[in-house]
Symmetry: C2
Subunit: 337 residues, 2 copies
């Protein structure tokens, strides 16, 4: 099915492609008569400009590349949703790639998107990725890049993140204020800025309230099995009156383990999650958690990116934003007397 082109119209009307182009683009120096004829025929034949030709000419594709680890975390979909809300009104398109949390695939996606000549790139770097040469390359060739959620000290570019430290601090303080004194902490994936920041927020809260930091209360969650083994003895010995987990899914598992031991939430123990994933409001008791403005992160990242792309911001300028979180208190963290 051949699409009709500007030259087809030109031929039919005995004018040159230039003229047709001008008429279609609303340039003034065109006689009313020819303009009308051209517009009419374009309409009749359903002419649609070919963006490929324009892109080739202008070195601009009106597309942005997006790399996310996977589609199954609600968080990323919210971010995606926020991105789309901006790109849509600004007339840009999203080409989407997943990294599956694997360095090789992430690197390949970067290459693919650059090859496609996207105008800019958005990425949420995978959890267990610790080499960033592929992102550095984007910066080096001066393609606009905005990174979301996770910070990589090495890559100097714009970031949109949330204040994990503050969020975890507030959440822990809430637990303390609600009467908990023996607060366990379940850590996230290693070597990630978010993991570190939330963990430090937890510690800061203890310090602020002059509670001792007890190393044995802190459990790594890398291996689900590991979590159970480490947590069970703490629970059996009734050493904890609260657990703060790096995210809601882990919190869900924690509650499972608590129940296995024969204790109940929230009667015996308080549980706090992080991220406000849907699971938090569907489980019972409903989970208290820290809400991240995922949609806003996406829309902000996209609008920063497009500002750079459109030249409203110097490409060299780094424009990072750190959004605030919000505590969502539900049934899993009652006030204790």
């Amino acid at each position: 099915m051949k699409r009709i082109s500007i030259t087809d119209i030109a031929r039919a009307l005995n004018v040159t492609p230039s003229t047709v182009s001008r008429a279609l683009n609303g340039e003034p120096r065109i006689s009313e008569k020819t303009r009308k004829a051209i517009l009419a025929l374009a309409e009749e034949w359903g002419y649609r400009p070919n963006p490929l030709a324009k892109s080739l000419l202008h070195h601009k594709t009106f597309t942005v590349g997006l790399i996310i680890p996977e589609f199954t975390h609600h968080f990323f979909n919210q971010v995606l949703s926020g991105i789309e809300s901006i790109t849509n009104v600004k007339g840009y398109h999203i080409i989407i790639c997943t990294s599956d949390n694997a360095y090789d695939k992430e690197k390949k996606s970067v290459q693919t998107l650059l090859d496609m000549r996207v105008d800019g790139l958005l990425a949420a770097i995978g959890n267990n990725i610790n080499t960033f040469d592929h992102f550095q390359e984007i910066v080096d060739i001066k393609v606009p890049l905005v990174l979301v959620d996770r910070i990589c000290e090495d890559v100097e570019t714009s970031y949109v993140v949330t204040n994990d430290f503050e969020g975890a601090l507030q959440a822990t303080e809430y637990l303390i204020q609600s009467g908990c004194r023996q607060i366990g902490y379940i850590k996230g994936p290693t070597h990630i800025s978010t993991t570190f920041n939330r963990y430090m927020g937890y510690r800061e809260a203890l310090k602020k309230w002059q509670l001792p930091y007890q190393e044995e209360f802190v459990v790594e969650s890398n291996e689900p099995q590991n979590l159970r083994e480490k947590l069970t003895p703490l629970l059996k010995n009734r050493l904890l009156d609260a657990v703060f987990a790096h995210n809601d899914y882990i919190a869900y598992d924690v509650i499972d383990i608590i129940q296995e031991v024969g204790l109940t939430v929230p009667n015996d123990i308080s549980v706090m999650g992080y991220a406000n994933e849907p699971v938090a409001s569907y489980m019972s008791p409903k989970l208290s958690t820290v809400k991240q403005p995922a949609f806003e992160m996406g829309s902000l990242a996209a609008s920063i990116l497009l500002q750079i792309v459109e030249g409203h911001i110097a490409p060299s300028q780094i424009l990072s934003e750190c959004l605030s979180t919000e505590l969502v208190i539900r049934a899993s963290t009652p006030v204790r007397s």
Copy 2:
């Protein structure tokens, strides 16, 4: 940052672009010497072919357009994930649009993707969309199109759907076999093939087991408020011993309403959902439901589409698939004695 092109290399090596093109594409009729030189320089300068130029020439973009209603339903993300798994290995890219369940936006997305010259289109039509001229147009201009989940009688193209009738039939039969006799049914959005098919599956099961179909047991769920008003009296009067809901989210709300009335699940009443969304396994009691092979739907749709795109299937040929569902029994539907 100017990207280096085939002509740059040609100039530097005193050959013509044709020669460079040939060398890069591994054509045999090239002297070993010039090939080596070209390849070396291309490597050194980090040459990357410009797909825009190729697309313009070959009328092929290696992209597929995808339209989904929104990013927040897990089902669509699973489908998306399945699609990506195929396009990724076949070297195609996904340009993604959302419809927000709105006809205007969906139509605009179709236009956008067609304008971009995608090689083919995948779409999950929105729930409250009942006009399909925009999809008919795709068919008319002979751009490959595969529709997912929902069937529109009017649009003659390939479909990938699940067997909603069979799934609902089995689910209802399970409820009957587990000892329920007074089974309420909560309907989905009106005028949708899935709504109709699941509803008919429910009725078929009743018929098969010679239970009376009672119209007052069937409730529309369009308005959440409406659902509560209609369901509450049925529950208060203990007319139901089970409820089968069009999807898991509705089932969640149903359980809420049941508890408001002072009854409990599963003790007083069984509840069956549909779709196996994450919510089903996170709520308590965990929800029995009908699992749809969402990932497979996506991957199957994508591979059918690419087969058409690549000409392995005649474009005119309609190649529809109906995948089976699987009953997932959890705590909300106990066997009653």
